[in-house]
Amino acid sequence: MKYSDKGLVSRIKVNDQRAFKELVNKYQSKIFMIAYGVLKNEDDAYDAVQEVFLKVYKYIQNFQENSTLYTWIYRITYNVSIDLYRKKKGEYSVEFGDSSKIDPNSDSLSRRVITPSEKAEQKELSEQLEFAISQLSEEHRTILVLREFEGLSYDEIAEITSTPKGTVMSRLYHARLNLKKFLEEFV
């Protein structure tokens, strides 16, 4: 059963552990992707997810319900990830572009049945995307995840990243432009 965010928050505030578990299940992959967008490293993104839920558990009593739960959680995620990124900045340069972890057989690439030649093309495109995304700045990667994966509005992205809406618009434009440059042969 899917619970509303409001219901989950009310239950967590009275120490309902099942509600907290539900919240973790609902948001863990979304949080992971934002953290991954910033950090570009699966292990660190995994650590960031845990850190985010620890903070959510600790501070949810102070959560003001005039804001939406997901923007509150995503703001925590963004801040935790940025902190971690700054701490580990030097380590990342050698890890970017590692496309060996991609599972080319993943069904998530497409909902329809794909032919072997299409599969090969998609594998190639995924590898190129992996590489191209790794070449972007942390700001551009993050904004692409928030927009393309989370489907957030510019206002929400502005709130989460504490940047003006005009900056969000400009960053998205440049992120897509840069990505296109890397992928010109494939898109």
Binding site: N15, Q17, F20, K21, V24, N25, Q28, S29, K30, F32, M33, Y36, E42, A45, Y46, V49, Q50, F53, L54, Y57, K58, Y59, I60, Q61, N62, K101, I102, D103, S106, S108, L109, S110, L125, S126, L129, E130, I133, L144, V145, R147, E148, F149, S153, Y154, M169, L172, Y173, R176, L177, L179, K180, L183, V187
Partner: protein, 175 residues
Amino acid sequence: MRCDIVKERLSAYMDGELPHNEMQEISLHLEGCESCAKEFESLETLSDSLNNYFEMVSKRVSLDSIYDNVMEKIEKEKIKPVFKDENEGWMMRFIKSLLQYSPTFASIAAILIIAFALLPNQHDNSKSSKGESVSVESLEYSKFNAMIYKTKEQNKTVIWLFKQENDDDEFDDSI
């Protein structure tokens, strides 16, 4: 609208984040401009590819143990939820935030808040909103300033002493 301007705005157009009139203008432009239409199409393809890619990444990592790990850490480190002090009013929060910035400034703010709260319309020997008669006097000396706040009915006196700026940035109060 010129093609270069349209191309710059296609990203926001695709996201539906432009004002209505610009959305209309670009939509019309795309109908009649092959070059911009082609650009827009490639942007949409990029967006689809990115979405598929992010979906794929989100599914290739198992997050099943996140909840157990978090609960284990909460128990191990004895992490407790932090409760905001509900009794703390906006005035106290305001003064606390000022205190971090400047104790002197905060103390002046505190005086002003008390004065405005208790003396809404008058300056001295007046009735407060609760019916209490109070008087406020301020005195200036060479090394410090003083403010004296007196209530007649309850016979209370509050004296605030402020050191001058060239002295230590601290203050004393006594009742």
